[in-house]
Amino acid sequence: MPLPLFILFSALTLGFAVAVIANRNPVTAALCLVVSFVGLAALFIGLSAFFIGIVQILVYAGAVMVLFLFIIMLMDIEEEERKHFDRLRTAGGIAVGIGVAFLIGGVLWDFDYGKASLDDVPVQFEAAITLREADADSGIVRSANATAALREGRLKDVALVGEKLFNDYNLHLQMIAVLILIATIGVVTLGKKDSPAPDSGSSGGDKASES
Amino acid sequence: MGILDILIILPVLAAALIGFGAPARVTALATAGVNFLASLYLFFWCRGQVADSAGYFFRTSTPIAENPGINWALGVDGMALVLVLLTTVVTLAATLFTKGDAKHARLLFSSILLIAAGALGAFLSTDIFFFYAFHELALVPTFLGIGIAGHGDRKAAAWKITVYLGVGSMVLLIGLLGLVLHASGAGGVTFDMVELMAHGATLGGATQNWIFAGLFIGFGILVSLFPFHSWAAPAYASAPTPIAMMHAGVLKKFGLYGLLRLAVPLLPQASQGWAINLLLLLLLGNILWVGLITIAERSLDTMLANSSVMHMGYIFLGVACFNVVGSSGAVLLMFAHGISIALLFGLCGKLRDDVGTVRFDMLGGLGSVAPGFAFVFGLGAFASIGLPGFANFAGEVMVFLGSFKDFGGEIGRLQVTAMLAVWGIVISAVYALRAYRNIFQGEVSAASDSRVITKGWRFPSYLLIAALLIIGCFPNLFLNLLPSTDSAVPGSAATASQTSDHHGHDHDHDGH
């Protein structure tokens, strides 16, 4: 995808990510986060990972942010006051951030840029088709319209992802399903109103909580 | 299911039975009795036998694992037989000393039996794996016994003894594994002692050194050798009577048995060089340093505990002689010390239960209140300080004679150590008589006149004293079981080069 678009979207993502951190008001922070996710989804689509891009928008930008906003509204968290700007913590945070950045920079530094940009690595449709015919009879389920799209030179991303997901990673899919189920049960128990939360003892708990 | 297996399995079964509710004292007494008779039968049977090549009278072996060559191999030779007898006698005495209605009776009786099983297993098994395992088995009841049924600050003492002996066992394990891996010879890794003995001497000097170091320190800790002796006093002071009797009397001999059986014969080169100097130095520490501490003790049980640590010094001297006289003396002394310390701990326990205290300043004049008890305690005390007629003296005199056997003119380091060690008999006389004086003679103190010593101690004491007297007057009963020529004795491989010394002519010898 053309360079200017790429620069725009990456600047968008990075800028709003920093905005999330810098912003004191959680609501604006949440909204910046949404914009950052949108920029990110655009990058995904630029990398021709359409399914992931859409999912990103749906899950993150949609569900997660909505959840955040909903929580913020529910708990009417006031603006974080500025009273003590803890020097040590910020210094620590920045130091770690810069340190890791340097590391990654170092890695990238002597990394021989094999492929500078997208068009050095075009998708070879013919090769893909020949391979698919080669193992056609090998019993692996292949989605018909994916091959058809390939012939026309279009990357039917969702079909291919689905093919891969249900061929090679079936078990993992089930586990993920179970995980999400447990997560929901967890949330429900935590969220219950009158549950005697372990340390919410009416006796005011220990002194740490009387902030 | 040979007699050896019965000896070991019976106590374990009995302990289990007690656990499941069988009447504690009766089962324990029955088992101890049967074990005692079995060991006597074994003793008289072995006297008729002639030892086979490796010195064993009787050996059975059922393979268990193939590659690491572990097999349930039991065997009894002269040394093991003496210690088996010691174990069964002390077990019987310990059971008799403990009253049926004592607190934690079931725990006490089952731990006596388990310690006995552990000790018997260790002494009888000729397979290092079981040799080690049985010892660890015996440590558990000691910990439980002291921790639960003890008195004074028993928890601290229980922890201290267990952690200390645990470390000791760990170091020992390193040594043993080193030994097994290096000395297994061609046929793959084997735990069998006899095979290891065969390949033992072929080890290179360097490997021998660190293996010997592991064994030496490991056994040293288990036997409270000088620097590692600080666990003994608190443990025995706060241990219940039977546990103290069993541990001091029997279990402590495991380390020495191991030294004599494994460390000395298998590693002649190593055990000649730096090790002998260290051993001599440490045993002097045992005799003189701990001896002085014993004099400074203010209560009977800690004094007895330290005196048992001190007597270990003599046995180490016997081991350090590396000749048949020394090692036979050591075996005799092990037996004698085991019995006498068990007797004294038994009586001390009886004193603590009936009179309420064992501190010297609170006791006095018990001789007029309980003459029989005073007489028996006197016999025990005199036996432990080496009065002729008792087995201790026979052992001690042989250890000293052994240390001077290859003397031949110039005073070597062994002779100097022996001379300093002989001063130990004065130290032991001092603390034993001082204790006897404070407890039994002089004016009757408040604590001791009102109480009467309940009966129940007579029969076990007479049993133990009879054992001491018999072996004291006729040490040959044991001696002709032990190897009598220099070559067959453990550890004499190093002195094999020395010309055999018979009387009447000046004998040259390799510089010791």
């Binding site: 986060l33 990110l40 708990m75 990357l155 993992h172 997560a183 902030s211 | -």
Partner: protein
């Protein structure tokens, strides 16, 4: 994540970190052709990361709510009862 005091913002930063990881994965899966097509294994991982992140946020927020209800604050620096 280290600087901000509010639990919510920490969760948001967490999301950012995860999405950064996703970006790297997708980029690699695109640039490395396997059998002529972009290597979808990478995308599988992204897919799993997203689902797990979603579950994680849900639970995270539930905890934050519970905390808020019991401690009236979600300021991380005061919630140190775990230390003693």
């Amino acid at each position: 994540m280290i600087i901000r005091r509010s639990a919510l913002v920490i969760l948001m930063c967490l999301e950012i970190m995860l999405s950064a990881a996703n970006l790297a994965l997708v980029a690699f899966s695109r640039f490395r052709l396997e059998a002529g097509l972009p290597d979808y294994d990478g995308q599988m991982l992204v897919f799993f990361v997203i689902t797990v992140a979603a579950a994680e946020v849900a639970v995270g927020l539930a905890i934050v709510v519970a905390l808020f209800r019991s401690r009236r604050t979600i300021d991380v620096t005061t919630l140190t009862s775990m230390s003693h």
